[in-house]
């Protein structure tokens, strides 16, 4: 391989990596949307439980949240498809993680509610274990240290609520969902700005 060819290859590799990294920074809209929808729904459910009011509407609350989530998700996906022409490898993996975790958590809800495999109070710690796993992998993909730190909190929270089960786990889950979106977002923005400054 001559020097010119090697230089060209290195330039191309660098460009692919930079493009990929920049594209990954913009792929978390779906996650943001679901979090901003689910966290308030969980909080409302928690308030209903501690104040013992409107519990008969909790089913309606979740049905509304899920329908709004699916509708919003389809709209976002449609808009993203029109704007984004290139799908990165990392972006595809992130989307797959979302689908896999969503599917697993849905299965756990089914196991608890339909088959009575475990008390619904354990749905949150079980889901937290899966979310911990997901955030660990996302942390590796996006190369964000904060996500790995959040994994430890997700898993510690899961252990805590396995040992001391209570409906306060709903509060933990809602707060963790919001924190898990916003803290990496801040780190992401800083890293992205640094990267863009380096490129320019």
């Amino acid at each position: 391989m001559d020097t010119k060819q090697a230089e060209l290859e290195i330039t191309v590799i660098r460009k692919i990596m930079e493009d990929s990294r920049r594209a990954v920074y913009d792929t978390s809209i779906q996650g943001m949307f679901w979090t901003m929808l689910m966290a308030p729904a969980i909080l409302i459910n928690y308030i209903m439980l501690i104040s013992n009011t409107g519990l008969q509407y909790s089913g309606l609350l979740w049905m509304g949240a899920v329908i709004a989530g699916i509708t919003g998700s389809i709209i976002i996906a449609y808009k993203e498809k029109r704007i984004t022409h290139v799908k990165t490898f990392a972006g595809k993996i992130l989307a797959t993680i979302g689908i896999a975790v969503g599917g697993a958590n849905l299965m756990f809800a089914f196991a608890s509610v339909v088959t009575n495999a475990f008390n619904p109070v354990y749905i949150i710690p079980v889901d937290s274990v899966v979310l911990g796993m997901a955030f660990y992998v996302v942390g590796v993909i996006q190369q964000l240290k904060s996500l790995k730190f959040l994994t430890i909190i997700w898993w510690s929270g899961a252990v805590f609520f396995f040992v001391i089960p209570s409906f306060h786990c709903l509060l933990f889950f809602a707060v963790m969902l919001m924190v898990s979106v916003w803290i990496p977002k801040i780190e992401e923005k800083k890293a992205s700005q640094k990267l863009l400054t380096e490129i320019n």
């Binding site: 191309v12 590799i13 993996i93 599917g103 089914f110 274990v129 899961a158």
Partner: protein, 208 residues
Amino acid sequence: MDQTEITHSEITRAETELSVIKKIMEDSRNIVADNGWHYIFWGVMVTCGLIANYIMALSKVNINYQGMMWFILMISAWIVEGIIERRKAKKRKVRTFAGKMLSSLWFAAGISMFMFGFVGTITHAYNAVYICPIISTLLGATYIISGAIQQVKWMQLLSIGWWSGAIYNFLFPSIHTLIIFAGMMIFLQTLPGIILYMKWKKNPVSTY
């Protein structure tokens, strides 16, 4: 005239860049290709554990001993894997991003399974009979992600088997759940691992 020359040069450069990108992608895909030994190793280990657990359960051996058997088996398997991986890492020249993702995924899945298997039952969150379907559910999710990282579609489809088995075992829990799960381990983990290994044998490119 100059404009035409620039265009020609641009086209040539674009063609070269595209061929370079193609080559990088192919090289990367070859390096990513897992030779399947992890799947075979864990598949065999867990299947042996399940069969032993099934025999212990039929012989009415105390549940604490059954848990102890799993704890020793899993820790030993993890140590053996760690030693093998360390040796492989010394020989390995490059580590791809996809390879890093794959090992992170299985590491996190391993911790999660450990938590489901031990923390969940010790705290009496659920009956031990539900460990297998809970782990099947997690494995279904892990296989979807793993297949996406390795770019192997059929591997993603294995999650249908994991999740179907999980639903069945959630609906009809019994002592035989162990043997059903052992069958799933053979058909959805060990055999796919053997297929990956045979493919790698035919084209022995580097692994991640």
